[in-house]
């Protein structure tokens, strides 16, 4: 049986080689199916020349209805989105937040998208540490939704997870969130209901929690907030999403238009010698970024939920979906500095790597020197005693036995058998990270109905929603997470634990030597990570892969923290 399947796949592969058109064109506009609102399935755009589809699968479309926001309506009738505002709030303040339709112009093209308060990204909420605010949220989009306050250790009932902490907010309805900010750092908010659609269409915003100490971070001349994203477009406009279920669940939805703060290019102008603090957030559905600011010195200061124990100089910054980093950049010489995303992509069809570099932005450095030179402070790597002291309380637990083990894997349902067979050949090698959509046709046909992504408790065999971990508030637990190399299509998974914080103790048995509190850890293919979870916040919480399509395809679980 096994050899028959594999041999059939090899034969199919040869057919593909001989029958495939030599093509470099984008295969957009190959209309195949439509829904009553005018959304149309067509072949997804290809990142590189490759055959459009296995000959036996020509004409195949995902088994769900295509969805576009407010399809059939004229975007000219919608308000043009405006760039985000900074909303400085104090303890006890109230924010009205509305999710609604907006008109977005990206690269000379106009799209109907979503926005919080008509802005892109959503308003930047800036609060002092320890504050609590009220958010009166109203849903004016065409789908049920909710708002998740990513990374915050807030009250459970306001975590914004339909099915776990609240019912979805139906169109036209409202929900009141009480949002508490116990930890200084960079956070973000986004929908937790069909986020494969809603987040992709622009529903996201940052939150910055300022520590009371003025010298919490080193000195800087200015700051920038960069939300990194991508959007999948073709000649027909926005590429449709699945209405009843997510599509592109195999690899997640990679966009072909990279965005910073919703724009194709970020631009900044600074003075010579300036130190800029960059607050970086990856809000893409699935894309991992490898950021380089060409020519600038970069100093890594903080991660998701805290600063690192020690600052360090870095040449590049790797952010998986949902992760945040705080980085200081210094610009010594006048000129232009490009913000790049250099990666080594894989062409699975031709069996090769190829370099791909996208330019995300440009920083222009004027010849005029900065008024206040922080060069000396920048060149000094600070040790953060507050972080070290905080972590010291947990070091005795670093050597504790593993309390729980999760394996990350996948299971296929009724994906076309040719795809299953060809992938058996194609995935003899699994890269640690998939940086691009290397197999867009196969990805296109995968949905949350024919592919399931799995978090499996290795001790009990329970999977996803059947897992029932319980902790007592104040408990510290060591969790091992292993991303199986041998599965249908292994891929990296950014695993996010809601409402708590954790430390990454080791990767593949190698202890971490510079810790920071995190809420999201990305596990490359084949890797094993040990994390120390501090169960500090009672309630029923979700843990899940933050690739939006993997979440839709089942890759989530719930754990309970009982009051201590």
């Amino acid at each position: 049986m096994a050899r028959r399947v594999a041999a059939g796949a090899a034969f199919q592969a040869l057919l593909w080689l001989t029958g495939a058109p030599a093509s470099g064109q984008q295969h957009a506009g190959h209309m195949m199916a439509t829904d009553s609102m005018g959304a149309v399935w067509r072949m997804p755009p290809q990142p590189i020349p490759m055959p459009m589809m296995l000959p036996g699968l020509m004409g195949a479309v995902p088994g769900v209805t295509p969805y576009l926001p407010d399809a059939g309506h004229d975007p000219a009738m919608l308000p043009e989105a405006v760039f985000r505002e900074v909303v400085e709030m104090a303890d006890g303040d109230t924010l009205r937040l509305k999710a609604g339709f907006v008109r977005r112009t990206i690269g000379m093209r106009t799209f109907t998208m979503y926005g919080f308060n008509g802005q892109y990204p959503g308003p930047l909420i800036r609060v002092p540490q320890g504050a609590e605010i009220i958010v009166l949220f109203t849903n004016h989009i065409d789908l049920p939704t909710a708002v998740h306050w990513h990374g915050l250790r807030l009250e459970n009932e306001f975590d914004g997870v339909p099915g776990v902490t609240q019912d979805p907010v139906e169109p036209g309805e409202s929900f009141m969130y009480r949002v508490h900010f116990p930890d200084a750092g960079l956070y973000w908010y986004h929908p937790h209901h069909r986020e494969d659609i809603q987040q992709d269409l622009g529903l996201y915003g940052n939150m910055l929690v300022d520590a009371p100490a003025a010298d919490y971070y080193g000195p800087a001349n200015g700051e920038d907030f960069l939300m990194l994203d991508d959007l999948l477009v073709d000649e027909g406009g926005l590429f449709p999403w699945g209405r009843e279920a997510a599509i592109q669940t195999l690899m997640g939805r990679f966009g072909n238009q990279l965005l910073v703060n919703g724009e194709p290019r970020w631009e900044a102008t600074v003075r010579r010698g300036e130190v800029r603090r960059l607050y970086l957030t990856n809000v893409a559905n699935t894309r991992t970024f490898n950021l380089v600011l060409e020519g600038a010195e970069l100093k890594l200061v903080g991660a998701d939920v805290s600063k690192f124990e020690r600052e360090s100089f870095v040449s590049n910054i790797v952010l998986a979906p949902a992760q945040r980093y705080i980085v200081d950049a210094r610009f010594d010489e006048p000129g232009t500095y490009a913000l790049l995303n250099p990666i080594q992509a894989i062409d699975h069809f031709n069996g090769r790597f190829y370099p791909q570099t996208d330019t995300l932005g440009i920083v222009t450095v004027l010849d005029e020197p900065v008024a206040e030179d922080h060069g000396e402070a920048f060149s000094t790597l600070r040790e953060h005693a507050d972080v070290i002291e905080d972590i010291d309380r947990y070091r005795a637990e670093f050597g504790r036995p593993i309390d729980h083990e999760l394996e990350l894997t996948a299971r296929v349902g009724d994906l076309p058998s040719d795809i299953v067979a060809v992938m058996a050949i194609d995935t003899l090698y699994f890269p640690p990270v998939e940086w691009t959509d290397a197999m867009p046709m196969m990805n296109y046909l995968s949905t949350s109905e024919n592919l399931i992504w799995i978090m499996r408790d290795a001790h009990t065999g329970k999977e996803n929603g059947d897992i029932d971990w319980r902790f007592t508030e104040g408990a510290v637990r060591k969790i091992r997470i292993h991303n199986q190399r041998r599965s249908f299509h292994p891929m990296q998974h950014p695993i996010h634990f809601h409402g708590q914080r954790f430390l990454i103790l080791s990767r593949d048995g190698v202890p971490s030597d510079n810790l920071a509190w995190k809420d999201t850890v990305v596990i490359p293919v084949g890797s094993t990570f040990d994390i120390l979870l501090e169960a500090s916040n009672s309630g029923r919480w979700m843990a899940h892969c933050h690739i939006a399509e993997h979440l839709e395809a089942g890759m989530s679980m719930v754990f309970t923290v009982d009051p201590g």
Binding site: A2, R3, A6, A7, A10, L14, L17, T18, V292, L300, S312, V314, N316, V318, A320, I343, Q344, N350, G351, R352, F353, Q356, T357, E405, E407, R411, V412, G413, D414, A421, A424, I425, L428, Y429, P431, P432, V433, E449, N450, R456, A458, G461, D466, R480, H482, Q484, R486, S487, F488, Q492, I504, R507, D508, G509, S512, A516, V522, P524, G526, T528
Partner: protein, 194 residues
């Protein structure tokens, strides 16, 4: 475009040698008991149990050559420490710490054994170091695909291998094939190394 005879052969080798979990356990019962959605085909169990949650670095085999057929060893790849969970350089190359362990090596008196890495096109190479008495060597590399081999030399003071190759292997990414072959080393049976 017609595939070459070599490519067809390679595809056949692949097809026959595949004992992959996907094909091997297709349509097996689901051990978790989760039912398939109504109307859907039965779940394909794509993942075997049993290797869960171990630290399992990539290990590839180093094999003897025609001139040194009995030699053998292994190369273990791990990712070096980094503040990020993914270690790539500023060109996007994955960085690996590699450890070569030679289990069997027929040493010739007076010879030294030098380990090398080379890109598949042989346009770039680097000396990884010399195998000591313990037949062990560690190095770091940031290439996509590469060959690793050990040559028998009279001296370590060489920029390029001169003596016979006595052990050879491929990076795990050497398994990245075209749909019917694998590039410049198409004739090589890369299955040998894994």
């Amino acid at each position: 475009m017609k595939p070459s005879a070599g490519a067809i052969g390679a595809a056949a080798v692949l097809a026959i040698s595949l004992g992959s979990p996907v094909s091997g356990e297709a349509r097996a019962a689901d051990p978790s008991g989760i039912p398939a959605p109504e109307g859907a085909a039965p779940w394909v169990v794509a993942t075997p149990r049993g290797d869960a949650c171990l630290v399992t670095p990539e290990v590839v085999r180093l094999s003897g050559t025609q001139s040194a057929p009995g030699n053998r060893g292994s190369m273990t790849l791990t990712q070096p420490g980094s503040p990020f969970e993914i270690t790539v350089d500023d060109s996007g190359f994955q960085t690996f710490d590699i450890e070569i362990q030679v289990d069997r090596l027929r040493r010739r008196g007076g010879a030294v054994y030098v380990a090398w890495a080379a890109k598949p096109e042989l346009d770039e190479w680097m000396q990884l170091g010399t195998l000591g008495e313990e037949n062990r060597l560690a190095a770091r590399i940031a290439w996509n695909q590469f060959l690793v081999f050990v040559s028998e030399e009279a001296s370590t003071d060489i920029e390029r291998w001169q003596g016979p190759i006595v052990l050879t292997g491929l990076s795990p990414s050497g398994r990245l094939h075209t749909m019917a072959g694998h590039g410049p080393f198409e004739a090589m049976n890369c299955q040998l190394y894994f």
